[in-house]
């Protein structure tokens, strides 16, 4: 009987249920049951407390009674509570992870909670909000639909990984009238209609947000591909900059594959100057050139950034020089990734020069940057003097045989570098092997030091 009750197959009122299931109400029936059923006992009759709890569960939406319950009763209610209940009811009332686990699993099936700090509740709210934003269509979806969720998830959302932002739907007649190329160019110029979701209305309300990852583009467009699906308009940029400025708790910002060019980069950077908590910035897979790089260099001087990734951009020599200048004075940056840019020797030498002064950079990636022998020479010189750098990648640069020799020479004086990627650099196998040997000795040394340290702490 209890099972039937909880499954809710009988949506009738509880008194009727009790009358149907509690046979004690009808003495004649009771007698007969006692006579016929030797298994029958009073224990089968559900407790009044349980009945009440069941009722609470059933009417939780209208009347959420939870905090007043005893711990045991709370567990019972949590176990029975439906996962489809409105979040506005449950969000700030229930903190039990088991309930939220059920909710998550009912929505998305199997998922990895370790990514969300082992908090199912956080996972639910983050993914919920992400879904809403990713499916937000400007001018069609009401911004209220996003803002309505904010009061519930404000306390639990720490990270937002927005993998797509939909553009507004274009008017069909226009699409039909012009041919594709013209319409694309037209749409590109039509600023207002192409704006994406405005983050400035949201970010200042999420007081616990620490990580934000954005892609101004459409995911899985398939054969419906059009260039204007991947537009990051200037107005978008401005609203985002405003939003970032208002979000004081942000630690990690990633804007990838969004066609961020120099001007937009400058706007974003100007909003991030003197940001109180930003630690990591990732602007990779964009169109940032030298001017953008210069702006980022300025940001390095006026922030506490620890990690900076601007790989797969269009930064050339002058931009690299500006970055290097900032790097030589920066006291906080730990990791810098400049992969797949076009620094060339001009930039490479500048970075190597900066390494002579910098005392905190640990990881540097300069892969695929069209650098050649002069960079290798400068880098070798820097490696002799620098003792903090541990990971260095120079892969896919045509350093040549001579460059390899010089680098090997430089490496022989270095004892801190643990990893040095020199694949596809056209240097002789002999040099590669020697450098590998040096790295291995450095590794084992570092390893020993670490074990000693751990031993000492233990």
């Amino acid at each position: 009987a209890v099972m039937n009750l909880t499954k809710g197959k009988y949506p009738a009122r509880i008194n009727r249920q009790t009358s149907t299931f509690n046979s004690a109400a009808d003495p004649r029936k009771m007698r007969r049951i006692i006579a016929e059923d030797p298994e029958w006992s009073l224990a089968v009759v559900p407790l009044l407390a349980n009945l009440c709890l069941q009722n609470i569960v059933k009417n939780f939406k209208e009347k959420p009674i939870f905090d007043e319950l005893l711990p045991g009763h709370k567990a019972f209610v949590l176990e029975k509570l439906s996962t489809s209940l409105s979040l506005s009811v449950t969000a700030n009332l229930i903190s039990d992870e088991a309930y939220w686990k059920r909710c998550c699993e009912s929505r998305w099936g199997l998922s990895d909670v370790s990514e969300y700090g082992h908090s199912w509740k956080r996972m639910l709210f983050e993914r919920h909000l992400e879904n809403i934003i990713e499916l937000f269509i400007p001018d069609v979806t009401d911004p209220k639909s996003v803002l309505d969720v904010v009061p519930q998830c404000r306390n639990y959302v720490r990270r937002l990984k927005i993998s797509q932002l939909l553009p507004p739907i274009r008017e069909p007649p226009k699409f039909e009238e012009d041919d594709s190329s013209d319409s694309a160019s037209d749409m590109g110029h039509e600023g207002p209609s192409m704006d994406h979701f405005d983050f400035s209305i949201l970010l200042d309300k999420l007081t616990n947000l620490e990580e934000l990852q954005l892609v101004y583009g459409v995911k899985g467009c398939g054969m419906n591909f059009e260039w204007n699906l991947f537009e990051f308009t200037f107005r978008d940029c401005e609203s985002l900059a405003k939003a970032l400025k208002s979000c004081k708790s942000l630690k990690v910002l990633r804007i990838q594959q969004s066609k961020v060019d120099d001007d937009k980069c400058r706007v974003l950077v100007s909003s991030l100057l003197d940001h109180p908590s930003l630690l990591e910035l990732d602007l990779s897979h964009n169109l940032i050139g030298d001017r953008g790089a210069r702006a980022i260099g300025k940001l390095l001087g006026r922030s506490h950034l620890k990690r900076l990734a601007i790989y797969n951009n269009q930064i050339r020599g002058p931009g690299a020089q500006a970055l290097s200048h900032a790097l030589s004075k920066n006291p906080s940056l730990v990791a810098l990734n400049l992969r797949l840019n076009r620094l060339a020797d001009e930039g490479g030498q500048a970075v190597a020069q900066a390494l002579l002064k910098n005392q905190n950079l640990v990881s540097l990636h300069l892969g695929a940057n069209e650098m050649t022998e002069p960079t290798a020479t400068a880098m070798a010189n820097a490696l002799v003097h620098n003792s903090t750098l541990r990971n260095l990648s120079l892969a896919c640069n045509r350093l040549g045989v001579d460059g390899g020799k010089v680098l090997e020479e430089g490496m022989s004086h270095n004892s801190s570098l643990v990893e040095c990627d020199i694949r596809l650099t056209d240097m002789s196998l002999e040099n590669e092997y020697c450098i590998g040997q040096i790295l291995r000795t450095n590794q084992s040394r570092a390893c020993r030091r670490q074990t000693q340290d751990t031993g000492a702490t233990q």
Partner: protein, 588 residues
């Protein structure tokens, strides 16, 4: 799989493997690290290759773009030249008049235009081909990327598998070594445990034997002790029973006395109760009395205050009366003095008048007597002594004029001063005494000068409070004797010691202690208060009748009356008789 996580895992293997056995752990470690590094390299190789290709592609594309732009520019230049050529030819063609020529020109122009278009088309076709090629390439790249991604996934999986395998092996190894160690440890411990247990059981057996022995001994001892104790116990029991009996007797006695005492106490209690009641009654009486007394006291107080007030008023009125009477008295005195003076004056006047009359009569009598003597008798007449005649005015009684104390003191002092050199002589002649001038009246008569001086000095010192401070200041420059003289003067004037007699009286105070001088002086002044009054009146110089001695008045008048002596009268009567006879004769 990032290198950093690889490092971390390596570390974990170290920490787990190192306690097992260091010797085999290190190469194991190196092997694992190598395995990881190789695997990572294998996976990242694809990435690096892709990067390389991408960068190469970009470089190529840039180069291609550069070439394309160059080519397009060249093409534009050449086409522009051609176009200019055509436009030039247009002007030439316009100048042509002959239709034939014009047609030729037009045809040539057409050809040229066709060439230009052809060139452009060629370029367009080329570009389209390039576009197509790059499209193909993009598709190829996409395919390649998917392949690479697949490959990467494959390699990742491979590496995961291999790493898993090796880790499992490692784990097995670690476990086996751990097991082995555990087993050996267990065996060791078990052996040790067995040994210990054996030893323990041996010891316990030994202890048990010892214990049994001890138990036997103790039992014997116990038996003995028990016997002793029973004996002792019996004796003690008997003794205690005796004691109990005695104590019970005592208890009975005590009970009896207790009963007695209780009764006594009961009685006493009753008595005390009675007394208490009585006390309460008396207390209440007393209280009532107190209140009554209080009332009386209050009444008396009010009465007293009224009385006081009344008496004060009375006093006030009496004082006023007294003042009034005093005023009247003073007036009366003044009047009296006035009348005294008037009376004295009248007396004198009457006296003088009568005296003049009497004297005239006396002189007439005497003149007659002389005439009688000379003419009738023929005898020499000698006037009788006429002392009475010389006097005039009322007879003044010779009062005692006492020299003032001041004068006496001054004399005493001055005398001493003056007699400074003659002292020896004086001492020889007069002894220690000096006759105070002032004569017979001085009661002291002779006074010891030293004593006087001492007394005076004493007075100076003791009565200093009477002297005004101003005076003292003025006296400072003077000599000692003079100073003391003035001091004494002022003291006397204040203390009303004004005559020498008093000073003399004071001589008695020779023997009085200096501290008592004041008291003596006060008594003295009280004694001489009256005489002072009189003397002050005398001093005022007003003639007085009351105190006048009229005992000599009669004698005075008598002497006037008897200025003609008795025998002379007889003479006169004889003469008269003779004369009468003569006359008779004559007549006859």
């Amino acid at each position: 799989m990032s290198p950093s996580t690889g490092d971390h895992r390596e570390n974990t293997t170290i920490t787990t493997a190192s306690p097992a056995d260091m010797s085999s752990g290190v190469p194991q470690l190196v092997r694992m690290a190598k395995l990881q590094a190789d695997g990572t390299e294998l996976v990242t190789n694809i990435l690096v290759a892709a990067d390389f290709r991408e960068s190469k592609r970009r470089a190529e594309m840039e180069e291609a773009r550069r070439l394309r732009i160059e080519k397009l520019e060249n093409e534009a230049k050449s086409s522009l030249e051609k176009f200019e050529e055509i436009t030039q030819k247009w002007t030439v063609a316009k100048a042509k008049q002959i239709p034939q020529d014009l047609r030729d020109a037009l045809i040539s122009q057409q050809i040229l235009c066709g060439q230009l278009l052809e060139d452009k088309n060629k370029v367009i076709i080329e570009l389209q081909q390039e576009l197509k090629a790059s499209d193909d390439r993009y598709v190829k790249d996409l395919k390649k990327h998917t392949e690479e991604v697949d490959l990467m996934i494959e390699r990742l999986q491979e590496q995961i598998i291999s790493l898993k395998k090796s880790y499992r092996e490692e784990l097995d190894l670690v476990e086996s070594t751990f097991d082995e160690e555990r087993r050996t440890l267990l065996a060791d411990n078990r052996m040790k445990w067995e040994q210990q247990r054996q030893r323990q059981s041996d010891r316990e057996l030994e202890l048990l034997l010892q214990r049994m022995q001890q138990v036997e001994e103790h039992e014997l001892q116990l038996q003995r002790l028990r016997l002793d104790n029973t004996k002792e116990c019996n004796t003690i029991k008997a003794k205690l029973e005796m004691d109990v009996q005695i104590l019970e007797q005592q208890l009975q006695k005590m009970k009896a006395t207790c009963q007695l005492n209780q009764e006594k106490l009961e009685y006493n209690f009753q008595v005390l109760k009675k007394r208490d009641e009585e006390n309460i009654i008396t207390k209440s009486q007393q209280k009532r009395k107190i209140t009554r007394m209080q009332d009386i006291l209050n009444n008396l107080k009010t009465k007293c205050s009224n009385q006081e007030k009344q008496s004060r008023e009375e006093n006030q009125s009496l004082t006023d009366d007294y003042k009034r009477i005093m005023q009247q008295y003073k007036d009366m005195q003044r009047k009296m003095r006035h009348f005294a003076a008037v009376d004295a004056k009248r007396l004198e006047d009457v006296w003088l008048m009568n005296e003049a009359e009497a004297k005239a009569l006396v002189r007439q009598a005497l003149e007659i007597d002389r005439l009688i003597h000379e003419q009738q008798l023929g005898l020499a007449w000698t006037p009788p002594p006429l002392t009475v005649m010389e006097q005039s005015g009322p007879v003044q009684p010779r009062n005692r004029i006492q020299p003032s104390a001041r004068q006496a003191a001054a004399q005493a002092l001055v005398r001493r001063e003056a007699a400074g050199e003659e002292r020896e002589l004086e001492e020889q002649t007069d002894g220690n005494t000096v006759e105070v001038p002032g004569g017979p009246e001085s009661t002291g008569g002779r006074m010891d000068q030293k004593t006087v001086k001492r007394l005076l000095e004493l007075l100076c010192d003791e009565m200093g409070f009477l002297i005004e401070s101003k005076l003292l200041k003025l006296l400072l420059p003077l000599e000692k004797d003079e100073r003391s003289l003035i001091k004494l003067d002022s003291i006397f004037s204040h203390s009303s010691v004004s005559n020498q007699g008093e000073t003399a009286e004071q001589k008695d105070s020779d023997l009085i202690h200096p501290n008592d001088v004041l008291r003596a002086l006060r008594a003295f002044t009280a004694l001489y208060c009256k005489p002072r009054d009189i003397s002050s009146r005398q001093l005022s110089g007003i003639p007085e009748l009351e105190g006048r001695d009229d005992s000599e008045d009669g004698a005075c008048w008598e002497s006037l009356a008897t200025v003609v002596p008795e025998p002379k009268l007889k003479v006169w009567s004889m003469l008269e008789a003779a004369l009468e006879k003569y006359q008779h004769i004559e007549v006859t």
